[in-house]
């Protein structure tokens, strides 16, 4: 999903998640409106917004364990290590989030995707603040999620990187 800043990409994503109210129309998941099956829908959903959703005075591992717990999962320590290593923040598990750089925080936030078992990923500007290596890695992760039959709704104002990945492009204009 592409479009200039302020065109309403984030609002649309929040509607897709069921956070923002819809004035008209409806959003279906498995042919049922999401508002009538919100518990089921939320099990299938993993949302990553502009904010990293990381509690600053907790360690990276504690944060990952907590967000996984919200989805009802309890990841093993070895799993956490693997995921962090994959996202280029190897060995940072016991560090407090507030001691990480912005780029590292974003990577930790994105590493939640690898722990999630949700079918639908809703990602708001995931490529922002990532270097070239990070972008490629994230693109690979999304591609493999799609390959496994998953679904991803992604916004980006950088058309280039998303174009190679997306089977469907949607451009929002005012």
């Amino acid at each position: 999903m592409a479009g200039a800043n302020g065109v309403g990409k984030t609002s649309l994503l929040r509607m897709v998640c069921g956070l923002a109210p819809i004035d008209s129309g409806q959003i279906l998941w498995n042919d049922t409106p999401i508002h009538s099956q919100s518990d089921v829908y939320r099990q299938d959903l993993c949302y990553l917004g502009h904010l990293n959703s990381l509690q600053e005075s907790m360690t990276v591992n504690e944060n990952l364990v907590f967000t996984a717990a919200l989805a009802g999962n309890a990841p093993e320590p070895t799993q956490l290590q693997e995921v962090l290593a994959h996202f280029g923040v190897r060995g940072r598990g016991e560090q407090l989030v507030k001691h990480l750089s912005q780029g590292q925080k974003r990577r930790v936030a994105l590493s939640r995707l690898a722990l999630s078992q949700a079918r639908l990923w809703v990602l708001d500007e995931p490529f922002v603040a990532m270097d070239e290596k990070g972008v490629r890695m994230l693109a690979d992760l999304i591609a493999s999620h799609l390959g496994k039959g998953g679904l991803a709704v992604i916004t980006s104002h950088q058309q280039v990187d998303i174009g190679t990945l997306a089977p469907q492009m949607l451009e929002l204009r005012t």
Binding site: L51, S53, E56, E62, F66, L70, G72
Partner: protein, 227 residues
């Protein structure tokens, strides 16, 4: 990957809140210090006459505890709102009402319980006897969870709002009145030689009511703030 039940999720939230609070000790200590300071101001304001202080003690200690517990309410959801964790909780497959109840429980554990433990020390300053001290602790123990539950509604309503702190107190202090009346009343009634069974069961009834209704209202208010 292992799966967690509802209680597993709530326990994870509880563990998170407690570990954060223990790392930021100010969050637990500030309300406690506030409690001590406010309660100590009263004798300075009304004079050291011990009979008067003794009569005022239950009310003064209850009001101070109530204000102290309110002090930390504003932060109940504010940090999670700012860093986006609140959105994740709202999108969790665990019912938001349960998560909110767990949040209120942590507020009680971190703000209410320390006040309960501190109250007898302050009660001694006012010359309360050990029996009254015990009843004061008991009523605070029964009442502060209700304060946390009702307070969470106010915290959710004022999330991200201008002047949230003052507004929060304006919204929830009137709702605290019944708890205050029965809580402070029990100590007074016992000192006057009357039974306190009625007070305690009414406090318990208020707690049960707020356990059922407050998370529902808080949950609705949070979803509104997140829109």
């Amino acid at each position: 990957m292992k799966k967690l039940g509802l209680f597993g999720v709530m326990a994870a939230l509880l563990r998170r809140e407690v570990s954060v609070a223990l790392r930021q000790k100010g969050e637990v200590l500030t309300p406690l210090v506030f409690f001590v300071v406010v309660a100590s101001l009263f004798p300075l304001g009304v004079g050291p006459e011990s009979a008067l202080l003794l009569r005022m003690a239950p009310g003064v200690l209850w009001v101070s505890a109530l204000l102290a517990a309110m002090l930390s309410l504003q932060r109940l959801f504010a940090t999670d709102h700012a860093d986006g964790s609140l959105e994740q909780m709202a999108l969790s497959s665990t019912p938001l009402g349960l998560l909110v109840a767990a949040k209120a429980l942590t507020h009680f554990l971190l703000s209410g319980l320390p006040l309960v433990l501190m109250a007898p020390v302050l009660g001694l300053q006012f010359g309360l006897e050990s029996r009254s001290l015990g009843i004061l602790m008991l009523t605070l123990l029964l009442g502060t969870p209700t304060l946390s539950l009702i307070g969470s509604i106010g915290a959710a309503l004022t999330l991200g709002v201008r002047g949230a702190g003052v507004l929060l107190s304006l919204l929830i202090l009137p709702l605290y009145i019944p708890v205050l009346i029965f809580g402070a009343g029990a100590v007074e009634a016992d000192a006057a030689g009357l039974g306190i069974g009625g007070h305690l069961s009414l406090l318990a009834a208020l707690f049960v009511l707020s356990v059922f209704f407050a998370p529902l209202a808080t949950k609705t208010a949070l979803r509104i703030s997140l829109e």
